[in-house]
């Protein structure tokens, strides 16, 4: 067994880190405060090819291996959870089109998504349907050459900017996936703002009032939207979030290490106090453990192992809780400064709590892991 990045993976990692340090970190505090993700940042991410991480080269993508994709999410997570969340939802949709799309659907949407010319959003949750996601109430009716979609979707990350939505609706009572373009007749997009964490994730509510969707935009097969399309996408999203949590915790650790080497109390640097050392040790152990769970999930994903789904759930479960713990410790170490907007740990701390809610909350991961482990 060998846990070591390949030269290519290391090169990818350095490229992503350099981009995030240059383009994202210097202004993350400012756009988080305003709650508006900068258009030019999304464009820069697209130009750098970062939004086509999982698309094959033939569609203009980077065709990253799953470990490199993880490292990309870690690099973004270390800088800003809102920017990382764009990677997450965009790739969930891109990967869904790649996995379940017809040749015509792939040709139509993948090049634009891979280039970041069009952003994508994943629309599953509804006002009355969250963790119990398959209880959704939005429904579709076939009317000649198109479907009419009725209902609403809530908390849709980057819904304010997306050009393409992957929308789940019941067709004859069974969950089915549809690709819905912005501007479709009967679709209204309303901003949800302000949020307490991931403040620049451009959340939106979608109102589907007889929204007209061409019949050719059904993704996968009727009735298989939950079992296959949504679950595969959520698995992908969990993987992205799990790595993003490693990055978030890593960012908090780095900020804390810098702070304890600068701040003096009781005549000594903070790092010389044993209770601070204990906190730092727990942070280091947590970050390492979360990263190793991600590496394992990534390895299993890369080789197509069926155990990848559970390993990913575990990585997200532990990673999200760890991000909340580590960011809480980072705020503690920073004292009052941790509550000011000058230090990024406050933003990370708010964002970390979101990680325990999205892509299957901590309780939902416990159910998945507990059931699968205790079955039989």
């Amino acid at each position: 067994m060998k846990i070591e990045l390949t030269d290519q993976q290391r090169e990818n990692q350095q490229r992503f880190q350099a981009f995030v340090e240059r383009e994202v970190m210097p202004r993350a505090e400012v756009y988080d405060e305003s709650g508006v993700f900068p258009d030019d940042l999304a464009l820069a991410m697209g130009r750098a090819g970062h939004l086509g991480a999982l698309a094959p080269v033939e569609y203009g993508g980077l065709d990253l291996d799953m470990i490199s994709f993880g490292l990309q999410n870690e690099a973004y997570g270390r800088g800003c959870a809102s920017a990382r969340s764009l990677l997450t939802v965009h790739n969930m949709v891109l990967a869904s089109v790649l996995r379940w799309g017809s040749a015509a659907q792939k040709a139509r949407w993948l090049p634009g998504l891979a280039a970041g010319q069009s952003l994508a959003a994943f629309a599953l949750s509804e006002p009355e349907s969250g963790s119990d996601a398959n209880s959704l109430q939005t429904y579709a009716v076939l009317e000649g050459d198109h479907y009419s979609l009725h209902g609403s979707k809530k908390w849709i990350t980057f819904g304010q900017l997306a050009g393409l939505f992957l929308v789940f609706a019941k067709l004859h009572g069974k969950t089915t996936a549809f690709l819905v373009e912005r501007g479709s007749p009967g679709l209204a997009v309303e901003a949800i703002s302000p949020m307490g964490g991931c403040r620049a994730a451009m959340l939106a509510e979608l109102r589907l009032d007889g929204c007209r969707v061409p019949a050719a935009n059904l993704l996968g097969r009727p009735g298989l939207g939950w079992t296959y399309v949504a679950n595969a996408a959520l698995d992908n999203g969990r993987y992205s979030v799990a790595w993003g949590c490693v990055g978030l915790a890593q960012g908090c650790l780095e900020a804390s290490l810098a702070y304890v080497n600068r701040r003096r109390q009781f005549g000594a640097l903070l790092r010389e106090h044993q209770l601070i050392q204990a906190m730092v040790a727990d942070m280091v152990a947590g970050v390492e453990a979360a990263r190793l769970l991600c590496f394992k999930a990534g390895y299993l994903q890369e080789i197509g192992d069926p155990g990848a789904i559970l390993a990913t759930s575990l990585a997200k479960y532990f990673g999200a809780q760890n991000a909340a713990r580590v960011s809480g410790a980072a705020v503690q170490i920073h004292g009052a400064n941790g509550f000011s907007r000058v230090f990024p740990v406050h933003r990370h701390w708010r964002d970390a709590k979101v990680m325990e809610i999205i892509e299957g909350s901590t309780q939902i991961q416990q159910m998945i892991i507990g059931r699968a482990s205790a079955a039989g």
Binding site: N231, A232, D235, I303, P306, L310, R371, A372, A375, G376
Partner: protein
């Protein structure tokens, strides 16, 4: 090619993940309520990885995955199609 090794691999995969005794060849794992959506996806990943076939949208029919024999038949058809192309 004999179907026996294929069936054996499928049976042991299902038994391992469903934590049941070895299943009868025709025992319906969906009807028995053994499969949740997590496992449905795992079966697809298993078939693709183990037998080097691609599960397409049109293949996603319960009849292809409901038992050891159904999966073995599906794999044989996919491999035959692959060999013919």
């Amino acid at each position: 090619m004999s179907e026996a090794p294929t069936k054996k691999k499928i049976a042991s995969f299902l038994a391992r993940h469903l934590r049941t005794a070895e299943l009868d060849g025709d025992e319906d794992i969906f009807a028995a309520g053994l499969v949740n959506s997590l496992f449905a996806m795992q079966i697809v990943l298993f078939v693709e990885k183990e037998f080097s076939v691609t599960v397409e949208n049109d293949d996603l029919q319960l009849d292809n995955f409901r038992s050891v024999n159904a999966i073995a038949g599906f794999v044989a058809r996919k491999q035959a199609a692959l060999a013919a192309s």
